[in-house]
Amino acid sequence: MVTKRNVTTKVPVVQSLIQRLELMLISVKLVFSHWIYIILAGTIAAIFWIIFNVFEQLLFFSPIVVFYLPEDAITGFILSNITAILLGMVVSMNVYVLRHSRGMKFNAASFFSGSSIGVLSSTCASCSSLGILLVSTLGGAGITLSTFLSNYQTPLRIISIALLLWAYYSISSRLTRSCNIVYDKSDP
């Protein structure tokens, strides 16, 4: 009996998960069926890819333009690529919502927090001028803050990806939400 009950409760959960994934895919198809949104997403992703890789000291523009990927940077590189792609998609989908749906709001909190954590965690704070700025303005607290940013780079990046995924889910569920007809009860 217990086993049967478990099965019956699990099936709707899995079904609903599959349904939500399908809706997320539909929303992607809906937005990216227009080439302008593909270009927008690609541009945003490319800009953030450059920012992340410059911060991560993998991409340099001076004295020559050069990119390299040492072994110690592979994990960070993969995570920053995922963040950049998600940022491109979420921005593009938000623009679509703002242009096509009146009254719909985009999930700004998760998008901006996700993107800012992504940017902040993509650099070794203590190695950059950000570290110098933090130390010179906040003293000991600045060292603690820059140490935190440097030591918890990977978890912070994972958090930023999670927040961006939440922003993506949120926007896709709004895009695929069914229309409700509100009847006026006073109307005979």
Partner: protein
């Protein structure tokens, strides 16, 4: 709605601040590329010259002795390379003089032929992960291509921005340099680098790392660290770095052997970046 606006404003400001501060060095890099030695401002609060005159003379004699001794083992590659480690002396450092002779007098660790036409000066911190990347990935290539062939030499300067353990590691490295073991220490410390300010580079752990370096007199090394003998040297290096506009680690200045025509490289750049500047400097 209001809460959302406030939240977005805070996040936006933070984002803009982080982007502008972290990209600033690249603007500075552009300026530094056009920097001439004469334009570099003098360092404030330097050690008075007279204070070290006597030490300077003694130091010069030791330099001569080193030069007569010739090459020693390079830890950064498997091959033997000609290295030079001047004895450590706490002397005032001025950005007006980045010549190899002056750098040796300042007590900075040097690898390669002192008469090489080009000098690569690294400003680094032993707790910096990008410095470790440079030491593991790019430095061996520079060593094999330019240092061992006598085309360039390399000098290490301390730019400690990662907390008190960085200062300890910097002093310890100078103590190793006193025994001509700086580059062994350099390699050892970067290979064993741990999370920033987690205690991996405290005095006790540094002593343990140093005990693994063959040929190092542990007793002498330990007493050197405990006395903080090279604290002022590290401070002077830091002053020099700041006066040269260093904003982070690792940063590099590539100069001719007489200290002229400095060019700055910021970050743990790959070998081709160094190659482009060193080759250019060699031909100048």
């Amino acid at each position: 709605m209001n809460r959302n606006i406030i939240f977005l404003s805070v996040i936006g400001t933070f984002l803009i601040l982080s982007v502008t501060t972290t990209t600033f060095p690249f603007e500075y890099n552009f300026l530094q590329l056009h920097m001439t030695q004469s334009k570099v401002k003098a360092v404030e609060g330097q050690v008075e010259e007279g204070e070290h005159e006597e030490e300077g003379e003694r130091h010069s004699n030791e330099e001569d002795r080193h030069q007569e001794d010739g090459g020693s083992y390079s830890p950064l590659s498997q091959d033997n390379a000609k290295t030079y480690s001047s004895s450590n002396k706490t002397t005032a450092t001025t950005p007006d003089n980045l010549s190899i002779t002056s750098l040796m007098k300042q007590g900075s660790p040097i690898i390669g032929n002192p008469t090489a036409p080009v000098t690569l000066i690294e400003f680094g911190d032993f707790q910096c992960e990008f410095c470790a990347r440079f030491a593991k990935v790019t430095e061996p290539a520079i060593n094999a291509t330019y240092i061992q062939t006598g085309k360039a030499n390399m000098v290490f300067k301390h730019f400690v921005t990662h907390g008190s353990d960085s200062v300890t590691a910097a002093i310890a490295s100078q103590c190793a340099n006193e025994q001509d073991q700086f580059w062994n220490f350099y390699k050892m410390i970067y290979e064993n680098q741990g999370p920033e300010n987690s205690g991996w580079a405290n005095k006790e752990n540094i002593k343990k790392f140093a005990s693994q370096i063959p040929g190092l007199d542990e007793q002498k090394f330990d007493s050197c660290i405990d006395s903080q003998k090279y604290k002022s040297l590290v401070d002077n290096d830091m002053i020099l770095g700041v006066s040269l506009g260093m904003q982070g680690t690792p940063s590099f200045i590539i100069v001719k052997s007489d200290g002229s025509k400095p060019e700055t490289l910021l970050g743990a750049q790959p070998f081709p970046s160094f190659q482009s500047i060193i080759d250019k400097k060699s031909k100048e």
